[in-house]
């Protein structure tokens, strides 16, 4: 078992992920954006059908949660596939904007505030 509290919480269906119980990469949060690398690196392994679907979806940047919703698979499964795609150099991942309670980012807050004001 991989241990840790994440391991016990979510069933990890094994069919799509080759039976591995490797813990999710911490850098894939729900709002991490993933983008397919285009063109795909020449030496990259041939993606599985589900992976190809993901690659087509994230031709434009998409958040992990959006990918999961669009392919209709649990986030826990999608994250494992994204790990493989990242390892293969087929996608890039951008972490969310860091949020700190102790030193708030005023520029960010103002930007979100103004964006909402324009809605």
């Amino acid at each position: 078992m991989s241990g840790g509290d994440a391991a016990g919480r979510l069933v990890r269906p094994f069919t799509l992920t080759g039976g591995r119980t490797r813990p999710s990469r911490a850098d894939f949060t729900l709002i991490t954006t993933v983008t397919a690398v285009d063109p795909a690196p020449a030496r990259a392994p041939r993606p599985q059908p589900e992976q190809s679907r993901i690659l087509r979806l994230c031709a434009e940047p998409l958040a992990v949660a959006e990918v999961a919703a669009l392919v209709d698979l649990p986030v826990s499964v999608v994250v494992i596939m994204l790990c493989d795609l990242l390892e293969a150099g087929l996608i890039t991942a951008r972490p969310p904007h860091p949020v700190s309670r102790t030193s708030p980012d005023m520029d960010l807050l103002q930007k979100v505030r103004e964006g909402l004001g324009r809605l």
Binding site: R9, L30, R94
Partner: protein, 205 residues
């Protein structure tokens, strides 16, 4: 990487931030997400092991049928380089273990209250208060009726002065937007107060 200089640079993906829409069971969280989102709200289903549920909670759950917890979310494009995601937290108490993960990295939260049964959101208020996660309270009138003024709700919840309380209608886009704006105003106000202590002034290098 070899040959990377011959590849046209892909447009940088936008930065992302999130806000939680929380509150008790059936108070209108998903409705609010849908009202302000620019896309039809998306949903993911996460299968759960029985290990994640307290033993008592398993009463009445069908054996074998996988239990799933649904997470719904929407998106607001703030600008070319910034996208805000809204996550409706699962309302049933037995799914609240997910709230901790969801709250990580969130700007803050909206705690929605059904004006007809405010008690159903007391625990949600406690959740964010205990963890020091900033939140505003949206009082969902359900039938557009607001029998109590915002201040009465504040008193009933024993909320501190800085927590904004808004009467709202989860079905109305403008109303929901105003609740989000109130959260941002509250965050900005808090940041300015902190800044008085010099935190916003970067030391010269």
């Amino acid at each position: 990487m070899a040959g990377s200089d011959t590849i046209a640079p892909a447009p940088a993906p936008p930065e992302t931030v999130k806000i939680l829409i929380a509150g008790g069971f059936g108070v209108g969280k998903t409705t609010m997400v849908g009202s302000v989102s620019e896309i039809a709200p998306l949903r993911t289903e996460e299968p759960l092991t029985s290990a994640s549920l307290a033993v008592d909670d398993l009463d009445g759950i069908e054996e074998k049928r996988a239990t799933t917890v649904a997470l719904d979310f929407g998106r607001i494009t703030i600008g070319q380089d910034l996208v805000l995601y809204l996550f409706g937290t699962p309302g049933q108490q037995r799914f609240w273990f997910m709230w901790n993960d969801l709250a990580l990295g969130a700007l803050g939260a909206v705690v929605l209250i059904d004006v007809r049964r405010p008690k159903s959101s007391f625990a949600a208020v406690d959740f964010f208060e205990r963890r020091g996660i900033p939140f505003v309270v949206g009082v969902n009138g359900f039938y557009g009726e607001h029998p109590y003024p915002a201040e009465a709700v504040r008193d009933a919840l024993a909320l501190p002065e800085h927590v904004r309380v808004l009467l709202c209608d989860a079905r109305e886009r403008d109303s929901c937007r105003n609740v989000l704006i109130a959260l941002l105003d509250q965050l900005i106000e808090a940041a300015i107060e902190d800044g008085g202590g010099g935190r916003l002034i970067r030391p010269p290098r």
